[in-house]
Symmetry: C4
Subunit: 260 residues, 4 copies
């Protein structure tokens, strides 16, 4: 297998809006998108495999294994922009590519695939690591490659023009390739001081995102997800110490819905 490939069920979508939540700073994107997927019962319809992902398979609870991958879920008519309804597509994944060549390849393929589905709009969800930020004042920042989106997103409380620096990986590249393929795209970032799991940042983004998507999501179950994510991060840390660099069992990902 020498190429990134997306295997998918052929389906018709209604001007779909995609949200992207891949592993990254504070696990903000993963937690937000996993929670939405769970709450609205989105169904998987496509899987992306790539030789640029680590050569790693995940052991599942039922004795099966599968390659690490990225997965597309959908929910019909879940997004409401005023009176207009859109299908929602959610991109989740175990991992991002580690090399620039892999990142450029995979992220453009994601945008092309979404365009091929009639893609209407993309929001990547990320953490924004602010070394000086204080928790009580943390904000939700936005970045875009389509000027017209700024005013709309500002109305939902997303701040433009204050975030500084660079973004690594899918959250930035997908928004950049969105422009190349003429799909309005923005990145929504929850400010955080934590690199592993920031529950509060995830909640702040979720609140804002409900407005943006015209969607209503219960926050009840999110604490379970946050706890599970935190436990998983601690487990990984401990095992890395114990194994002293050798190969090691990761905590069972099936315990953690967000990387199922």
């Amino acid at each position: 297998m020498n190429k990134t490939k997306i295997f998918y069920k052929k389906m018709k979508f209604n001007k779909p809006v995609m949200i992207v939540g891949l592993p990254g700073i504070g696990n903000v994107g993963s937690m937000v998108c996993e929670h939405i997927k769970n709450e609205i019962g989105a169904k998987k319809f496509a899987t992306l495999y790539s030789p640029h992902f680590p050569h790693q398979a995940i052991m599942l609870k039922n004795g099966m294994l599968r390659l690490v991958n990225n997965r597309f879920y959908y929910a019909k008519n879940a997004v409401k922009h005023g009176k207009e309804k859109h299908d929602l597509i959610i991109l989740l994944g175990d991992i991002q590519a580690m090399t620039p060549e892999g990142q450029y390849d995979i992220n453009e393929k994601i945008v092309r695939f979404f365009k091929h589905l009639g893609g209407h709009e993309i929001y990547t969800i990320a953490g924004y690591n602010s070394a000086k930020g204080k928790a009580e004042n943390q904000k939700v920042f936005g970045l875009t490659t389509d000027k017209k989106m700024i005013e709309t997103l500002k109305r939902h409380g997303i701040i433009f023009g204050e975030a500084q620096g660079t973004i690594f990986g899918a959250s930035g590249l997908i928004v950049a390739f969105g422009k190349k393929h003429m799909i309005p795209s923005a990145c929504i970032m929850g400010e955080t001081e934590m690199l592993d799991v920031d529950a509060d940042a995830a909640k702040r983004v979720l609140e804002v995102l409900q407005g943006v998507l015209g969607i209503s999501i219960s926050m009840e179950n999110i604490d379970h997800l946050i706890k599970a994510t935190r436990k998983m991060m601690r487990d990984i840390e401990e095992m890395v110490k114990e194994s002293e660099g050798g190969a090691m069992p990761a905590p069972n990902p099936e315990n953690f819905t967000y990387i199922r």
Copy 2:
């Protein structure tokens, strides 16, 4: 040489079953498959070379050298599934590729090649590193991409659904690509605390595997193999220390049948 290539003698096989024992955790896979190869007198019929392997040649005892590689051996009608007989193919090797791109490329090529030979079933053999495991209770775990294999393998004492985490390299990828190419495939893992050489784990797997393959293997000579493997691992460690990172002679691989 820019591509992975398999050079092979043209032969007809009878619904062959492949076992894969490449270097990895505890050297479990290598030792198990090398021992079976020796005991049943399997013959080499194919060699895989790849630019994704380290740029390294092995000095042989007779003054010859050869590139590091992976090798396919066969034994006619060695496998008995009830009354039905199958040819056995054994994959051994000096090394695995170090990059994801190399691993994806080589492991799918291995599966395609086996399919081209009329491949019937694949078992990859590996170690499963359990940080908390106690030697006396160590088990043999299984993972598969074909649900139907679980019941059969359970009957031979292989435990499904308890192993957690991720598998690196060929043991996982070959089983995953097995599914893609519709060849029933499973990974059989001996639990171990040791990263280098675990003789007991190898023996436990061998016992189980005899049942799975309907094969009878003497354990007499395995202790020699285990001793040789241990000595080789110690030698490598010492030399790495002495050479302080410079180039260095490895212990003579010809002393160790499993990487001949």
Copy 3:
């Protein structure tokens, strides 16, 4: 996106001369070329993107983001060689590729593109790190792949035959590929002890370069640029410390004209 690509506005150029100022030792090349671009009001007409650049997007002051890239600017008839006028093309960028494969690919593409525009002559601008150099005696060194350029450049005070060692990256590769594509090319290097920002080296090179290009550049605004560059380098350093290796916001590049 699997290939390096240059997007450009179709334009006719008059025997253009290109100067190249990409990030490198002492930021000499970047500062010199950015200052010339600002002073003569050169306009952007082409952008180079590459999967060999880091998978990184830059957050702009206006809430927009863009991929890291290299950019071509032009100024009509800005170069005077005696009575003859030439268009000036200036290459600036956020970054260079980190792998040999990326560097060879991108730098030859740059030379091919310039040749396609009717390219006449190339000067790459760089720092030359002299461990034993004393600031007051620091010089401007030259290197070329076209013997005929040596005498002319010597007349402008550039010293040939004293610089020793190797050059990494674009400054050397572009001059080497210049020879392959038959475009007279030279590298002009300001001697420096500093690896981050050497304002004096940049000024010394600017003075010499005015003679080479037959151009007159005010030095008034350069101190602002130098201060901004220094501040940016300090900011980056601090944040790297604070973030302890995690992802982090870089200082806003929009504050620094040279990586706009």
Copy 4:
């Protein structure tokens, strides 16, 4: 530039024998082949460039620069096998590729090129690092992929079957690819404890090689070469310390004939 390329003058060769001396353990191969090139006045006729070499250009004494490369030299009828004469081809270079993919690509291209020239026989020259070896008893070892060469080479004092371990890079790969392309090939290794410059190992190999090639080489000038090589290695070491990992000038390679 995305591919390894050899630029060469078209010439007819008489069943040429190639010796290969690229940078490696103890600089044995480089010193031996450089010395032979100098003593018999071999002329350059081909140059190999590759994007798998470091992205580095070398500053020459005359103010010119050139990319790092590998170079082929020839001397007509320099080799005497009994009564038969052969042209001698010498491969020298600044560097070897650092990745497996690069090494496999370049080394097979070298063998193919030599085959295209009517190649008759290849000897790669290397150091063999023996951690336990004592200087006074150090030997010259041989390895081959053509059994028939062993007896002949033994007669010249080369020892087969004692060297153990693995060889990295061109010295091993070229001999392996020699077999693939049906050119008798062997590696001749001078035992050494030193990783940088071992003059005695080089001399021992030179003596043996004179017999193998039926060639007579004065040892007078070799001490100069050895001193220069040692000085260069020390200079590099010092500068690496001083520059603390930053970019740096290397010692002028033009002072050292073997990387001219």
